[in-house]
Symmetry: none
Subunit: 217 residues, 4 copies
DNA sequence: CATGAATGAGACTTCATTCAT
DNA sequence: CATGAATGAAGTCTCATTCAT
């Protein structure tokens, strides 16, 4: 589900390097002004290439948006993977993964917002590929939930597992896309509340989080 | 926090009527193609007005987007308000409100998606007004949570109340903006899982919902 | 050489009155913003008529400009005629006419500038009519010059009479159309220098003007 | 007091060359139809560029008008300077300059008319720059007059010098902007009368001009 | 490969004029 | 006669993309 972006240039290293320049510039511009209000000229200029050169590495402006979304997802995934514990009880790995995920989101706020707001501008096929990336990220949590069901450390409704995984992702990403509403909190507060809610929903047995734990009155 | 959209036409009834036409057409087009790929001519044509006539009721294309967002939020609020119980324990009113909210979202999927994807195209001031609408909707849930704290039927962490309200809104709205990921579920399933999670997070004492209740293993 | 501006309205008094309103508003607007940047709506509004009503008294925007030019010339001529001595030596009448003319110009600066800057926007036929008005005004001075040739009080080159008349008009009107360059002078200074130059050019015998008379060194 | 017109194109030679094309086309069109009735497309077409190409060399239609005015004034000044005697009595240099100026006007009638009729369409700042050009041209005559005062070959009222310079300019330029009234004369006749009047007003001692010299009375 | 000038379709908006009420 | 909403042609300007150098 990864779509090839064609390039006139043969040397793959050069392509990688130039596209990195383009992506770096475009991420910033798209986040700031949005896809449609950003011109290819601006992207070229900001990436240190000429107008024409950009089109040696990309076939259309939409390709750039696709590369940007891809790069963001790749970075998210990489960062997330890096801090995932590979062993232990699923419940602990979940708590760990959620925290890692939230911290990744915090460092990539603008990027996540960018995907939420601009991916609609992608052509259908590329949009599908981007959504597939999100499915893969969500899948990370799904897998842990299933592992928890298996090892007994979590007790989610089996049918609800996909949705719970989405809840984790969405309740984390809102730190980015509802930023305007959450100015009053700091990340730790946010994480405490969200983690508490999400883990409880997953039937996590051990409530060792820092926040006050509320037992229904 | 409501911004005036100027019109050349004086008769307020006519303005209302024509703007309704414009909004109806624009909602559809924006949802389908996005704000930037929709032309003013298309909007005019789809609303049965001439190009020039549209500009008798609106000063710019962005005004149309603002009217659209406003209309969507107004409809959401109206529908939500209509089905809100005015009395009873806060816990019951919350459950009721969440269900009502989710059903509203289900009927307004495209509209909510539209706001998520297109509001970035608004000029700053109008964007602020649209966000203020979302704040007001979120406030509905905040108030119930506070009432629950007061009448003892809910026990949210007082500091977490604003965030919990946002969780309710976001965990509902994902039915719209993650539609592509939730094709496998039906609304009732979705509501059961989300309601369960959210109410529990709010410290709702009586778990009378239909879903399986998970007590941490 | 006066072109009829058609009106749908039959009652000539009403036409006169309404056109006066239109002209009053248009003069101001044209002087301020120019013909092309003034909209018919603005003219209607400023004259207290509805958009449609204006077109009951005028067939086109250009008609309004024509009416404006006509009105300005008529006022100039009226004011000038009012203060023209009817008898006496031509030389005296000339001096008197030049002074009167200059004072008229001073009170009608914007109007004269308007004609200089906007008459190009007139349709050919109406432009011709406006130029004919200017010819008529120039003719006033021509006649006095010829009278002076006849009564011996002036001695212009007979062939130069038309040009000298234009010189009088232009050297007066520059008080309006070179206003930006003459900020440093007052009207009296200006009149003294110009009158001196013009009368001398017309071979005026009696140099009774207030200014110092310079005999070539 | 020269305003920079921005261009996307970096190569100054190309900018000069393309702008020359644009100016050539625009002068003709503006003179013929006026600024507002000329479309940017017509300018592009007449200058052999595409619509978009024009906007690589200019930021707005008004910029074109500004370039046109600038170019006209530059050409006037250049032509005038070329034929100015650098030495001799100021009185002779004045006569010489006036003649040169009048001949320049004769060759540039449409251009001068263009400035009179269209400069009102300029944005304020650019209008100021254009008027500054006219001030500079007028200044040429002012300087000669002052020199004449110094070398005794002219005896203008010192306070009247600026106005006399304007008289020279205006009494020359009327050959362009009153062309419709002067069809009956030829340039030589015109020059004779005007030169006579103007030099006399400047207190020029030696009346060696070709025209009949009239001594008052 | 790189450059950047050129293209031209098309976007938004304005506004003189009309005409039903 | 008066009103003012409606029309729609036309204008200015933008910008993704191409291609000669």
């Amino acid at each position: 589900m990864t779509i090839q972006v064609p390039s006139n240039v043969k040397d793959p290293d050069k392509v990688r390097q130039r596209r990195a320049q383009i992506i770096r510039a475009a991420v910033q511009l798209f986040a700031e002004k949005g896809f449609h209000k950003t011109t290819t000229r601006e992207i070229a200029q900001a990436s240190g290439l000429s107008t024409g050169a950009v089109y040696e590495y990309v076939a259309s402006k939409e390709d750039i948006l696709y590369l940007v979304c891809q790069a963001i997802h790749a970075e998210m995934e990489r960062k997330l993977m890096d801090s995932l514990a590979q062993s232990g009880r699923a419940a602990d790995r979940l708590r760990n993964a959620v925290e890692a995920f939230f911290r990744v989101i915090d460092t990539m706020q603008e990027d996540i917002l960018l995907i939420y707001q601009q991916s609609k501008a992608l052509p259908p096929e590329q949009l599908r590929a981007v959504l597939a990336d999100e499915v893969r990220i969500t899948g990370i949590f799904e897998q842990i939930l299933r592992a928890g069901l298996a090892d007994g450390s979590l007790s989610p409704d089996p049918e609800a597992i996909p949705l719970l995984a989405h809840d984790i992702v969405v309740c984390g990403e809102m730190w980015a896309f509802r930023r305007w509403a959450l100015r009053g909190m700091d990340l730790e507060q946010f994480m405490r509340v969200q983690t508490q809610m999400l883990l409880q929903a997953c039937g996590c047995s051990l409530e060792s989080g820092g926040g006050a734990v509320h037992h229904g009155g």
